[in-house]
């Protein structure tokens, strides 16, 4: 992230390319159960990867990103079931809707900073959640709805309900998000984002417009959240209001913190670890939220930079973006 020397420019891209390839190579050896989990984790990691651009790199703590996850989820799901659109088209529509909502909310919320920003983003997300419940004639409210498998065939014959295709699509989407995140944070925009996290005033007095850069981070993270939501609806065939609750806003934050804020691969690592932690713990107790809380507290105390962030800081892996 900092002071990378020009010569270290080969290791980082190779590592980031190797991760999706390794996941693909590992897939055939996984049990059916873990194969399904892998697809789910990859989709949720897209959500976390986008959130990391806003929170980790730009330093803006949103507590309302479930809104864009929900916008993508419902935008895509309703377009498939109610409008009868092709899944690919519906996905673009849902993702675009999330982008539009994040543009509007971002433009308003970025007029505030700090705690006020957290509260404003959260209130918009709550308004979104309550709207989903209110319009339950279309959304089926809390209960949600299932997208029948015949509706989840994209194009001529791409059956998104098929486990292998589901995994392949999830991996492709994650790889795309990873590539976009990597390109952005390694480029001029990412450098300004990181600088904004340290001092907005200094950034402005170097000739960069802070609001435009912050809004871009907000919208990119909103689009990625929307893409994750849309993909979830199509790949797993379920659309429900629980994805728009504040719990998912907090989970994105948690996944990023666990893996390492402001590291490109951190969100995937954090998502996978927390997914399996919850999976294992909920086999023993219903109080899995307690465990999530305990992890968050332990993390803040012991490794506030998260797993990859701690490695990057302690061992001066400045080549790791």
């Amino acid at each position: 992230m900092s002071g990378a020397s020009p010569r270290s420019g080969v290791v980082a891209p190779l590592l980031h390319l190797a991760v999706p390839l390794a996941i693909a190579a590992l897939y055939p050896f996984l049990s059916e159960y873990h194969q399904g989990n892998a697809a789910r984790i990859l989709v949720l990691a897209v959500f976390a990867t986008g959130y990391n651009l806003l929170f980790g790199y730009t330093g803006l703590l949103s507590l309302g990103h479930a809104l864009y996850l929900g916008a993508g989820l419902y935008g895509t799901g309703l377009a498939v079931t109610n409008l009868g659109l092709d899944p690919a088209l519906a996905f673009l529509l849902g993702t675009g809707l999330a982008g539009l909502v994040s543009l509007v909310v971002g433009a308003l919320a970025l007029r505030t900073t700090g705690v006020a920003f957290m509260i404003v983003t959260m209130m918009f997300a709550q308004a979104g959640y309550l709207s989903i419940l209110h319009w339950n004639r279309f959304t089926r409210g809390d209960e949600g709805f299932v997208i029948p498998s015949v509706r989840r065939v994209a194009g001529v014959a791409l059956d998104l309900g098929d486990p292998d295709i589901r995994f392949a699509v999830a991996l492709a989407l994650y790889t795309l998000a990873l590539g976009i995140a990597y390109g952005l944070v390694r480029g001029d925009i990412g450098r300004v984002w990181l600088a904004l996290r340290d001092s907005e005033e200094r950034v402005e007095l170097l000739g960069h417009d802070p609001v435009r850069h912050k809004l871009l981070a907000f919208v990119v993270s909103g689009v990625m959240a929307g893409a994750a939501g849309g993909a979830y609806a199509l790949l797993f065939g379920y659309v429900g209001a629980s994805f728009a609750t504040i719990q998912y806003s907090i989970l994105a934050l948690l996944w990023v913190l666990v893996g390492g804020a402001a590291t490109v691969l951190g969100p995937l690592l954090g998502t996978a670890l927390m997914f399996y932690l919850v999976d294992v713990v909920s086999g023993y107790t219903a109080a899995w939220l307690f465990v999530v809380g305990a992890v968050l507290v332990g993390l803040v105390l012991l490794a506030p930079r998260g797993l990859l962030g701690t490695l990057q800081y302690r061992y001066r892996w400045s080549w790791l973006p």
């Binding site: 900092s2 450098r191 005033e201 200094r202 950034v203 007095l205 170097l206 417009d209």
Partner: protein, 259 residues
């Protein structure tokens, strides 16, 4: 020296509630000069400069830069037009590396293929090349000052505004700093807000004196030294201002920094 006016303040006033921090100040900085802005604490120096660079909106009055009215422009736009600025309290990006700090400052001005060379040149110019691999937060205060100066000048500004740049530096560091700013002055116009009269006398070609928000006097260092109003204003207020007045006279006689 050319007589083109680069920066012009026209009847600038800034009120904070009932307090008039800057009161009807007009000022013209000519291209190529090193203009010092002096005055006791609370005289309105920082408020004035904050309006010049765009961090504060004036209550009334205009700011012109290079013949263009920039009163309504935000700081980023003014910087794009050729202003550079360093903060009274040093602000660098502590989590970024030294190289990235400078790259952020010049990436708008320098095409990517020439950046490595431009960053290296900036590091060299300010004598911080050995620190290139460090995180900015790990640098000493003096080195952070130099880094901030390297950042403020990375875009080759035509006007460099330094808000109390020697505050918090040791005598040795001040001496080095004066040398660096002296070199910069050959390439750019400088507006220097400074308490240290030795530094002012060593660098300034003209001095403007602010007192209680108003422009009290303006002239060459010799004229300011001889100005009875300036001496009276400083001698007439608090003890710390006595010492400032003493140093106006003492600094003028040696003309050396850090003495």
């Amino acid at each position: 020296m050319s007589t083109t006016v680069l920066l012009e303040a026209q009847e600038l006033t800034r009120r904070f509630g009932g307090l008039v921090a800057v009161d009807d100040v007009s000022l013209a900085v000519t291209a190529g000069e090193v203009r010092a802005l002096i005055g006791s604490n609370g005289a309105g120096k920082s408020t004035l400069v904050a309006m010049l660079v765009g961090r504060l909106r004036p209550t009334s009055g205009r700011v012109r830069f290079d013949g263009r009215d920039v009163t309504g422009l935000p700081p980023a736009r003014r910087v794009a037009l050729g202003m550079g600025y360093t903060f009274q309290i040093t602000q660098v990006f502590p989590e970024l590396g030294v190289r990235d700090n400078i790259t952020v400052a010049l990436q708008r001005h320098v095409p990517s293929v020439e950046r490595d060379a431009a960053v290296a040149a900036a590091l060299e110019r300010f004598g911080i090349a050995a620190l290139a691999g460090r995180r900015a937060g790990e640098l000493s205060y003096g080195h952070r000052r130099l880094l901030e100066l390297a950042m403020a000048t990375a875009g080759e500004p035509r006007l460099l505004m330094l808000d109390e740049p020697t505050q918090g530096l040791s005598d040795d560091e001040i001496e080095g700093f004066v040398g660096v700013v002296g070199d910069l002055a050959a390439r750019t116009t400088v507006l220097l807000i400074e308490h240290n009269m030795d530094v002012v006398m060593a660098l300034a070609t003209r001095i403007s004196v602010l007192h209680e928000g108003r422009l009290l006097a303006e002239g060459t260092p010799a004229e300011i030294r001889a100005n009875a109003d300036v001496q009276h204003a400083y001698l007439g207020t608090s003890t710390s201002d006595d010492s400032l007045a003493d140093r106006v006279v003492a600094g003028a006689s040696t003309g050396k920094p850090g003495s």
